[in-house]
């Protein structure tokens, strides 16, 4: 058996002394007990000094015993499970736990950057903005890396997290946040109705402040016995779910709550190797009881950050819950009654309290009397003007103060090794504030409270500034009962902490020397706040941002109210006029992986594949993602790279025949007696006179008059069409068409059905297309029998098919639509009958190249948000005889200016060059800065033209054919000839193809 740690009390505490645990702290092997936090185990060994501060690298100790901890940030775990910036006060001690301090180099005891502390006159509030101004180029190269190195938190492991994170959606009638006395009473009262109740507690133990105190009784029994009874009874209620280790980190609209449940602690991974580490709950609960308690505030005085200084209630928690004494000689510094409660509690646990320093001139009452009887010296009307020490606390200067909190001459120097401070209490009102609750200053209890709880929420106990135990329990029971429409159970006698704090308005002792910290985590001082106000940052939101007070990972849980108090004093304004900064979710730092859950890697997005996907895989295709679809990009043969494959595929289509999987085209069936009228209103071209069996290429505009989507419309019958959309645009187009039908033209009888996945499609293109397809179909493919832009129904390879004679390549083309089940056998038959013509499957890249040779646009690539049909040279597709969506928009003066960006063809003078897509266009040498006149939208090497060619949007482009323009390629101006965007077969003779 190892020797008991020096500061461990001989008995008491909610720890299991039979389970001795070994852990590592910065390489040192230490021991603690099951039930300890990392912080309590360190304190048991007398280790207060655990980290260096953010900016000045000052030694810092464990300040609190909970989630509000600003100083004791540590890195826990190894390899992929290494987690930085955990609060040592929240980390459950486990066997073999590995923890290291942060922000110190080379070591905690000897940190080179602690020189910052002496450079502090040069590091005032806002020093980033003032100092690192020029030269501008130094910011990224010098200043930022330097600041990052010196002002650091922990580091990420750089390795993948091996654990999994879960998500759950749930519903409860009542959510109770906080498992202290008030929350337990609420959950118990609500649970008895049989309705669904969820109780969350961020700690692994229920009980809240009951764990930190002794001698309290509820219903006539000791608080510990009552706690055990409540837990037993709640566990027995099937309708009540108690979630310890769970933080309610956010309140959202309409009773939505974000809960983070920590299922495994560091060091317990081997117990259940496949269990998730954390679970994110999205809980809908229309009613809630907020029993989140309150957080004690520090006092602000010189060197109030020395290791050995803790919150008074935290000192009491360490003594009573963990059986650890904060030191051998403790002094309490308070401005309210709760400092006396903590002092008495420390004495009862066996800690020597030397003195109480109280800012109030005449503290009295039973507690003061009892402390005097215990031999404690009380200094009324005094403050601590300065603490002394370096790595630990040595002395305190205790001085009389005036009404403004200014330290006067005189007083005493007293030695001690721990100081417990209380500057009042701040109710935890974050969750109601997330929902916009108005907050107001309560003078009586010296804290901000919620003025009016949001609908469905009840705020009870410490969270409502009801600090007396009896009041907290009664409020909890009443709120829990009324949330389910029941009457509150009556409780018997409750004996515990008194409620009235009698809190002094002085929480800042103004001395002559030393740093008086307001925000311990971000190293901002009372002096910084004064400076910000002097420099004109008066609003509390500005003061916060300029000094970074309250902007660290603890979000100012300790700092904010003191900062507001100091601003209120300096500006001479009441607290309510200074106001609070906005509370935002999450309440405490929340793991990003828990938000992501299982939506990682392959599960990040659903992947849509076509019926021909596997067939393309067997041909060795490379794929590219288009929206959620995976499309065959090119089909390389052995030894081919992408460029060579694309050149071969494209040449094959021009010279003979090829086909492409076009199944991803969006397809919508439009049906009803007004279908033609409807399409006539949403497409730019006329649809009314289109005969059954005809196809048309159409543009859709938005009401601004710019291109929205394009596709082919085929008329199946008088009352029946089917339209195609771009691959990525199908859901958007369908929702948009529905918008018109449902909201604007409600009198039209039209129904829309998505048929994208009901029809597979192959695009067969090339002069020999007819020869290949004719043997496989009963449809007469003759040029006169089945002309261009017509549509036929029949059989292909024995399967029912729709064939469209359309072309996106400029060659004779057939788009074959068939049932998905038939696609593979049709593709295989095409390969067989096409073998004598060397039929070539081609991918999206060749399709892009082939269409660009003909100047066909890809909606979304060759246009931008302001491009009209006229800009694209497509005004011929826009009817002048009817109104349609977007017509009036495109007719506005600005949409018809001559200097708009318009689509042009571009031929680089260097024929071997392929312009990179996206590069800017301008005149002359392009010496920066130069006016950007446009950009390249599509660019390829053409195997047919034997040269590079491109399309682009260019100002006044329509009128510049024949001129030369420069493209900026790798810093150099590349001259290009401007030509019409049509590089091949302008008269469309190739569309006829060869006869069968």
């Amino acid at each position: 058996m190892k020797a008991v740690a020096k500061y461990r009390l001989p008995s008491g505490g909610h720890i299991d002394r039979s389970q001795l645990l070994q852990f590592s702290w910065g390489g040192r092997t230490l021991h603690g007990f099951h039930g300890d936090t990392l912080a309590s185990a360190l304190l048991a060994h007398g280790i207060h000094f655990v980290g260096r501060s953010f900016k000045y690298h000052r030694p810092r100790g464990i300040y609190t015993a909970g989630v509000e901890e600003p100083n004791a940030l540590v890195t826990v775990g190894r390899n992929g499970r290494m987690t930085p910036n955990l609060r040592a006060t929240e980390v459950l001690l486990t066997e073999g736990l590995n923890a290291v301090p942060q922000n110190a180099w080379p070591s905690l005891d000897f940190d080179l950057l602690s020189v910052n502390n002496f450079l502090s006159p040069f590091l005032p509030a806002g020093f980033y903005y003032k100092t690192f101004m020029s030269p501008a180029a130094w910011w990224h190269k010098r200043y930022e890396p330097m600041i990052r190195r010196s002002a650091g938190l922990g580091c990420a492991s750089g390795q993948a997290d091996p654990d999994s994170y879960e998500r759950r959606y749930a519903y409860a009638e009542v959510l109770v946040v906080g498992g202290g006395a008030a929350g337990l009473a609420a959950a118990h009262a609500a649970g008895q109705s049989g309705k669904r109740v969820v109780l969350v507690e961020q700690d692994w133990l229920l009980g809240g402040s009951l764990l930190a105190r002794t001698g309290e009784t509820i219903d006539g029994e000791p608080a510990r016995a009552w706690l055990a009874k409540m837990q037993r009874e709640l566990a027995a209620m099937d309708n009540v779910q108690v979630l310890p280790n769970t933080t309610c980190f956010a309140a959202y609209e309409h009773g939505m709550w974000g809960l983070l449940e920590r299922l495994r602690h560091h060091g317990t991974e081997q117990d259940k190797p496949n269990a998730p580490r954390q679970r994110m709950w999205w809980l809908r609960a229309p009613r809630s009881v907020i029993a989140t308690g309150a957080i004690e505030r520090p006092m602000v005085f010189a060197n109030n950050d020395l290791p050995g200084v803790t919150l008074a209630s935290s000192a009491a928690t360490y003594a009573n819950r963990f059986a650890v004494k904060p030191g051998d000689r403790t002094i309490v510094f308070t401005n309210n009654n709760s400092g006396y409660v903590s002092a008495l509690s420390l004495i009862e646990a066996g800690v020597e309290v030397k003195a109480i320093v109280d800012t109030r001139p005449a503290p009295s009452g039973a507690m003061a009397q009892r402390l005097l009887e215990c031999g404690v010296t009380i200094f009324p009307g005094h403050g601590i003007s300065r603490a002394r020490g370096w790595h630990d606390l040595h002395h305190l200067r205790i001085a009389p103060i005036d009404e403004e909190g200014v330290a006067q001459r005189g007083g005493v120097l007293m030695s001690c090794d721990s100081l417990a401070v209380s500057g009042g209490w701040s109710p935890v009102i974050h969750l109601p504030s997330h929902q916009g609750a108005k907050v107001q200053w309560n003078e009586e209890q010296a804290c901000f409270i919620v003025a009016e709880a949001p609908a469905g929420m009840a705020i009870v106990g410490g969270a409502a500034a009801s600090f007396a135990l009896a009041q907290a329990v009664q409020e909890g029971a009443t709120a829990g009962a009324s949330a389910v429409g029941a009457t509150a159970p009556a409780y018997g006698a409750i004996h515990g902490a008194e409620g009235a704090l009698d809190c002094d308005s002085i929480a800042w002792i103004k001395g002559k020397r030393g740093k008086a910290f307001v925000d311990l985590q971000n190293d901002s001082t009372a002096k910084d706040l004064a400076l910000a106000i002097r420099e004109g940052y008066e609003s509390i939101e500005h003061v916060k941002r300029y000094t970074t007070t309250g902007m660290a990972t603890d979000q100012g849980k300790l700092a904010n109210v003191n900062a507001i108090r100091i601003v209120s004093k300096i500006r001479g304004l009441p607290m309510n006029e200074v106001g609070v900064t906005t509370f935002r979710a999450p309440y405490t730092p929340t793991t990003l992986a828990a938000f992501a859950g299982r939506e990682l890697d392959d599960f990040l997005q659903p992947e849509r594949i076509t019926p021909l996907h596997d067939w393309s895989v067997t041909l060795g295709a490379a794929f590219e993602p288009v929206g959620q679809w995976m499309r065959a990009w090119y089909y390389p043969k052995a030894g081919e790279d992408m460029h060579r494959a694309v050149q071969r595929e494209s040449a094959a289509v021009r010279e003979s025949v090829g086909f492409m999987d076009a199944s991803t085209l969006g397809k919508i069936e439009v049906r009803g007696k007004d279908a033609a009228e409807f399409l006539n209103r949403v497409y730019t071209n006329g649809m009314l006179k289109m005969p059954a069996g005809a196809c048309r290429y159409g543009l859709m505009l938005n009401e601004e008059g710019t291109l929205f989507d394009d596709g082919v419309i085929s008329r199946l019958a008088d009352d029946r069409f089917f339209i195609s959309t771009t691959t990525g645009g199908a859901p958007r187009v369908l929702a948009w068409l529905e918008l018109w039908l449902q909201t604007e033209w409600t009198d039209l009888e039209v129904w829309l059905t998505s048929i994208t996945e009901q029809w597979a499609a192959l695009a067969l293109n090339g002069p020999k297309a007819r020869k290949v397809l004719q043997p496989l179909t009963d449809i007469d493919l003759g040029h006169e029998a089945f002309p261009y832009m017509r549509f036929r129904e029949g059989q292909v390879c024995g399967a029912k098919a729709r064939i469209l004679r359309v072309s996106f390549t400029g060659e004779l083309g057939y788009e074959i639509h068939m049932a998905p089940e038939a696609a593979v056998s049709v593709a295989e038959d095409l390969m067989e009958t096409g073998a004598e013509y060397k039929i070539t499957p081609y991918g999206t890249e060749s399709m892009h190249l082939l269409r660009a040779e003909k100047g066909f646009i890809i909606a979304g690539q060759d246009n931008e948000g302001t491009t009209t049909p006229d800009d694209l040279g497509l005004s011929g597709l826009c009817s002048t005889k009817k109104d349609y969506v977007g017509r009036r928009g495109a007719e506005r003066a600005g949409m018809r200016r001559e200097d708009r960006k318009q689509l042009v063809g571009l031929l680089p003078e260097n024929e071997t060059l392929v312009l990179p897509e996206g590069v800017p266009l301008g005149a002359g040498e392009l010496t920066p800065p130069f006016p950007i006149l446009g950009h390249v939208t599509s660019s390829y090497m053409s195997p047919t033209l034997k040269r590079g060619f491109a399309m682009g949007l260019l100002r006044r482009g329509h009128k510049r054919h024949g001129e030369t323009i420069s493209a900026l390629v790798k810093g150099a101006a590349v001259p290009c000839k401007i030509v019409p965007p049509m590089f091949l077969d302008p008269d469309g003779e190739r569309l006829r193809g060869e006869d069968a």
Binding site: H254, R284, L739, R888
Partner: protein, 97 residues
């Protein structure tokens, strides 16, 4: 996350819906006769009120219907919803705070 009352499906989570803009905006009957400014008023200009707002929502991952919602943009309180062919839900008189 809002809880939105679809007139056809009942209350569902916001994730099932898509916001479709301000409600009650009718397409002008006579576009060619409108000035550029009048057209811009229809296409671009919106009320963006602090308070009661008539808006359209689409139950995209549900029944696929567009419908009317009246929501308070400050409190997010939803006063009700209605099918497109009915009048927007009435707003209770504002109580003074």
């Amino acid at each position: 996350m809002l809880l939105i009352p679809c007139p056809w499906c009942g209350e569902r989570a916001e994730a099932e819906f898509t916001y479709a803009g301000e409600g009650g905006i009718a397409r002008p009957k006579n576009p060619p006769e409108l000035s550029d400014q009048e057209w811009a008023d229809y296409v671009y200009y919106r009320h963006n009120p602090k308070g009661t707002h008539h808006e359209l929502w689409l139950h995209l991952h549900g029944c696929g219907k567009y419908f009317r919602v009246v929501r308070d943009t400050v409190s997010n309180q939803i006063y009700g919803s209605a099918p497109m062919l009915e009048a927007p839900p009435a707003v209770p008189e504002r109580k003074e705070v």
